[in-house]
């Protein structure tokens, strides 16, 4: 069951590569949050209610509902429809996406062979998510897409941390979540300011500072 969920998470990234409507990105983000929640719930290893409650709130409430809702509101208010033509065209990006997928699965096979005590599929898919979100951030021009892909990168890191058996102290977990939350909040504030001050909201307008 967890394997199906994790594969679905990987596939959701492939979908991101192929669409250019920004709202679709937000839906995927919300779906990823929900899948992460299911993964956490199905994969409970210990009965520590504080931890379970914390992880559920993190994934279901924050990652699947609050942040996507917040971003969707920003997108609708600013009437952003589609991603502009990226630096590398859609066709080639999908080829690159496939290569990243192959790399992710190779990493999973490799992780299965080592005795490092990590869950192979989690490891592979997290690598896949991290690399593909970094690629999307480099390739896409709209600032809002960058914010969305940053969230997907964070999801990738979350799966990576699930692949490891060790757990962080609660203080650290709360800190990480707080950082993420405030980070997204600030990103959106700056995004709105850029939208106000400049005509467009893709990074090509930010070229005033250079040497």
């Amino acid at each position: 069951m967890t394997n199906i969920l994790i594969i679905l998470l990987g596939t959701s990234m492939l979908y991101v590569f192929s669409v250019s409507r920004i709202e679709a990105y937000v839906k995927i983000l919300s779906l990823q949050g929900f899948l992460l929640f299911l993964l956490v719930v199905i994969d409970i290893r210990e009965i520590n209610w504080v931890n379970i409650a914390f992880l559920s709130i993190e994934t279901l409430v924050i990652k699947a509902i609050i942040i996507p809702y917040f971003l969707l509101r920003v997108i609708r208010r600013n009437e952003i429809g589609r991603e502009v033509e990226p630096y590398i065209t859609q066709f080639y990006s999908i080829i690159i996406a496939s290569l990243i997928f192959i790399f992710g699965f190779v990493a999973a096979f490799w992780a299965a062979k080592t005795n490092a005590g990590i869950k192979p599929l989690y490891f592979g898919v997290s690598i896949l998510l991290i690399i593909s979100s970094l690629f999307l951030i480099i390739n896409r021009k709209k600032i809002i897409t960058h914010i969305l892909c940053y969230m997907m990168l964070e999801n990738g890191i979350f799966i990576l941390s699930l692949s490891v058996a060790n757990e962080m102290p609660m203080l650290v977990n709360v800190g990480i979540l707080l950082d993420l939350f405030v980070g997204i909040f600030l990103f959106v504030i700056f995004f709105n300011k850029i939208q106000e001050m400049y005509d467009g909201s893709h990074i090509d307008v930010l070229t005033e500072l250079k040497d």
Binding site: A116, I130, S161, M168, L171, L178, D179, G183, F190, E208
Partner: protein, 476 residues
């Protein structure tokens, strides 16, 4: 004491934010500075008192290196707190804007001390990410188009970098699963049990992440923009303390490598990036048009020198400690003085500024002396630290590297010196509109910092020397 350092600035900031009163703002800012001075002094004289829940002690601790960096931060913070008063006056800020500035600055300071004192690698990460978030708003404080661009680049590039550093931390916890702890002390004690492969992979990620924050080439893109667009006292804090806080984290990670006897791998990476940073700043230094950007590139150069120092292992570490102190204080003095120049000439362009000695000779002299300090003219301590680094090259058998090192350092010194002298001397521009000179507290912090540097360079107090040695010994 730790709870004072972590919570009092935040509480002061909140009070300032709620009351929105000019006098309260200033009291909040200066009293936090004073508190930091008192705490640093108390720690230097081994005077400790505890009033707080014991669990905080597990997560935060004043170790020698931490206290050393904390003391440097205190000096820089106090200087920029005093200078901020001039910044308020110069921009005639409203009480509301002032209180926002104070609240942001104090929360920035508080999370920075959290990063310096954290005993857990993941907790350190949390605080470093928090420094990005709190300082981004300060960079955008002047609400100009260019500062918005700088703040966006800063927050986004650093957040991605820091996210990668977290990947590194998770990878490290894969390699150290027998230890099942990310406390530095546990990692040091059981360093030999960590799987070398995962340790190296994790280093790559942590290095890229914290390197982004430190601003070494080739991942320095945000640094010149943010440093040049932030208000001058904030630029001083960014360069004098934020880079150090991230650097201390990397030093602590290097400690794991030293304990695991894997330092050859990390030293090589430090050496390459160090020289690359020197090269980048040397190339840009000769063609800059903005004097605050010049100071930012000088920060990249000095971070490069620190990296080279770490790569030389036990031979270079004392020089690194001395260089951290000297760079922070000199750079703070330079950034604060650049605020005076900006006030006098209303321009950040090098070409618009000349004849500084005629318009305001005190600013002119501080500008020149601080520049002499940062490029390493004796008796200032940067001369000593660079000299010790050259000695370390010979001791570690890499004497050929002295040539590129000296060449690049001289190019930077030449570029920076030429620009500073051009600005200080010559005729006053025709379109210069004379204004009142800055008030006395726009000079005092720089003069105090330069006197400290002078004393350290001429005759270092034994206590400071011992302390630096201990801090350096921590990583040997």
């Amino acid at each position: 004491m730790i709870s004072l350092v972590l919570f009092v600035p935040v509480i002061c900031g909140l009070i300032a934010l709620i009351l929105k009163n000019q006098i309260i703002n200033r009291i909040a800012l200066l009293s936090s500075g004073l508190l930091y001075l008192v705490v640093s002094a108390a720690c230097w004289f081994n005077f400790k008192w505890y009033w707080f829940p014991g669990w905080l002690l597990t997560y935060f601790h004043f170790d020698t290196a931490g206290l050393y960096f904390f003391s440097i931060m205190t000096l820089v913070f106090c200087s920029s707190a005093v200078y901020s008063l001039f910044y308020f006056k110069e921009h005639s800020l409203s009480a509301r804007n002032e209180s926002i500035y104070v609240a942001e600055l104090l929360s920035f300071i508080s999370v920075m001390s959290g990063a310096i004192l954290a005993t857990n690698l993941a907790l350190f990460w949390v605080f470093v990410e928090a420094t990005t978030l709190t300082s981004a708003l300060l960079i955008y404080f002047e609400k100009k188009k260019s500062s918005l661009e700088a703040a966006w680049k800063y927050i986004f590039i650093c957040s991605i970098g820091i996210a990668l550093a977290f990947v590194g931390i998770i990878v490290l916890s894969i390699g150290s699963r027998q230890i099942n702890s990310l406390f530095f002390s546990d990692l040091y004690n059981h360093a030999l049990e960590i799987d070398p492969f995962w340790l190296k992979v994790s280093f790559a990620f942590i290095f890229v992440g914290l390197g982004t924050k430190i601003g070494v080439a080739p991942i320095h893109a945000w640094l010149p923009d943010a440093h040049s667009e932030a208000p001058s006292p904030v630029s001083a804090l960014l360069s004098g303390t934020l880079l150090n806080a991230a650097f201390l984290g990397l030093l602590r990670v290097q400690g794991i490598f030293i304990h695991a006897h894997q330092e050859n791998f990390s030293n090589f990476i430090f050496l390459i990036t160090g020289f690359l940073s020197l090269l980048v700043s040397a190339v840009f230094m000769l063609r800059l048009r903005n004097y605050k950007r010049m100071l930012a590139y000088s920060s990249i150069e000095n971070m490069g020198i620190l990296f080279i120092g770490i790569s030389l292992g036990k031979y270079g570490i004392f020089a690194v400690m001395l260089h951290v102190l000297a760079h922070s204080l000199s750079k703070t003095s330079l950034f604060l003085t650049s605020g005076n120049i900006l006030y006098l000439y209303k321009s950040k362009k090098i070409n618009s500024v000349s004849g500084l000695m005629h318009t305001d000779n005190v600013t002119g002299w501080i500008w020149i002396v601080s520049m002499l300090s940062i490029i390493g003219i004796p008796p200032f301590p940067i001369f000593l630290s660079k000299f010790m680094l050259i000695k370390a090259f010979w001791l570690s058998g890499m004497y050929l590297l002295t040539i590129p090192f000296l060449l690049l350092v001289i190019i930077v010194a030449f570029g920076m010196g030429g620009t500073v002298f051009k600005m200080a001397f010559g005729d006053v521009p025709i379109n210069y509109i004379p204004d009142k000179r800055p008030v006395f507290y726009a000079y005092v912090p720089q003069i105090v910092l330069l006197i400290i540097l002078f004393v350290v360079g001429i005759n270092m107090p034994q206590r400071v020397f011992d302390f630096m040695n201990n801090a350096a010994g921590f990583f040997n």
